[in-house]
Symmetry: C2
Subunit: 305 residues, 2 copies
């Protein structure tokens, strides 16, 4: 009985949301035509895309380092403000003051402090308009929360062709701006999703990046939410941000260089088509031929410079 | 600008998968008829169900305590064997040897050891047959992976009326038996899901319980999976199980007593109906009126004895 090896198979082939699992990648080549449509003709052969260092943020926590890839192509104003705040040192020392297992880890400056009050408000960037020339890598039609799901530039998206709208979707590990009740009330407080995707927040929040490295450290941020009957967590125990820096501002020897799977490649589309078929012997009975975009990995690898 | 307070609203009202969030519970009463159907008439008024101590397992990790509620009503043979193994000390000292962020934490005895080889194989308990008298609390029709989703006795389930089949579904925090390629090849190695629900495993694995307390400690189990370019994690660094005990075998002063939301109550059904409407002012635009069963909390509270 080799459960370890046997069950490995499934992990090797089919794991995992997020990104911390390059060794979970299947090495076999695709053997079937892709079901995905609309893939970009750009970069259609490259398996990996090197992440632009100017789009990477290094979030240093007491227990480890986290790298975020920003998405200026989808949420330019939020990214621009986040970069300005990061460069100004706004987030250094901030606490993760609302951390709920299975939902979000949220951080920001002390409520009502001058650092908090002086940040300009941002107009919501929850979705964008598409036209017939717009393309993406299709994952699933008739998803519960969207007419279509897929990937664009490594980011999980929803797409409603009937509305000509697309949006970044709340899969685990996205970073988005918190806000008040008004649509255009975000400024600097942000959250990172840490559990089952809260997709009811899609289109009404501004997602502006995703964790591409160190998600395990996000998962280890001290929870602030307690259950009935439990002792409250004192604010002194909240996890602090040691530093938030643009990767370009990190000393060269401490920079982390990363590549992620090129979701615009034919290879990636082929892998999706393979994944949905579950041809591995482990599947003595085939599951429904559907994919949850948030449970479809876009792997990361470290690059030595 | 009170993002903290404002964004709290959404958490207070709408969070969270799993269980560690009693303070995320909305206190207002339901104001609309429930959409859920088929709720049991038993216990229809009790908001909480005290978890039977004989069904609770205390998993002690180096960094914290985890409580699992077993589900003998759904997977009697797996529960029976798991209890026997637990009582015999089988799991004490086992390592979590395969831990992948966003997927599973898997543990068991050393591969090929006598402890491993001597455990009887189990027949799969991946689903059960339903009849017209079978009832559950409906969450969603036409879910991506099931004709219906819902809850039964606090457990998230899928249900296909067209097949008269129902099953426990792979939401975050379930415990299931690992197996080889053969359906009936599970024995003692188990996994706990720690990320976006891998629901393609539904019906072909045997889920036999769920974490009702301490999921944050499951999330902090050392990952064994690395990405390309990263240093391997030595097995000496794998998280060990300090002890696995039936709660009845734990010294009285160290027992943890818990109650969970009574998913068979009218109150719970009403909350689901409320949740789907998103009436809170935070939702300046309403999301689709659908619910992901794995992102629908069944809260836990501590009981002092």
């Amino acid at each position: 009985m080799k459960f370890r090896n046997k069950f490995s198979t499934i992990i090797l082939v089919f794991s995992v949301s997020l990104n911390a699992v390059a060794n979970a990648e299947q090495s076999t080549q695709a053997q079937s035509p892709a079901k995905a449509t609309n893939t970009n003709s750009n970069n259609s052969t490259a398996e990996w895309r090197t992440v632009d260092i100017e789009k990477m943020v290094l979030l240093t926590l007491p227990h480890g380092k986290v790298v975020i890839e920003l998405a200026p192509q989808f949420s330019p104003k939020h990214v621009s403000q986040f970069i300005n705040l990061t460069k100004s040192g706004h987030y250094n020392g901030n606490k993760f003051y609302r951390v709920i297992d299975g939902f979000v880890a949220q951080a920001g400056p002390e409520d009502g402090s001058s650092a908090d009050r002086e940040v300009p408000l941002l107009a919501l960037e929850g979705e964008w308009s598409t036209d017939k020339n717009w393309s993406f890598t299709l994952v699933q039609n008739n998803d519960l929360f969207a007419e279509q799901t897929g990937f664009k530039d490594g980011f999980a998206i929803g797409h409603n062709p009937s509305e000509n709208k697309a949006w970044l979707t709340h899969c685990p590990g996205i970073i988005a701006m918190a806000r008040g009740n008004e649509a255009d009330s975000g400024s600097s407080h942000f959250y990172i999703t840490n559990g089952q995707a809260p997709r009811y927040l899609d289109r009404i929040m501004s997602i502006f990046g995703r964790v591409i490295y160190g998600m395990k450290h996000v998962q280890a941020i001290t929870r602030t939410a307690t259950i009935e009957g439990e002792t409250e967590i004192p604010s002194s125990a909240h996890t602090a941000i040691i530093s938030m820096k643009m990767m370009t501002d990190v000393a060269v020897e401490e920079q982390i260089h990363l590549a992620v799977k090129n979701t615009e490649s034919e290879l990636f589309a082929n892998k999706l088509a393979e994944r949905i078929k579950r041809d591995n012997a482990f599947f003595f009975k085939k599951p429904p031929q559907v994919l949850d975009v948030c449970q479809t990995p876009v792997l990361t690898k470290l690059i030595q410079k």
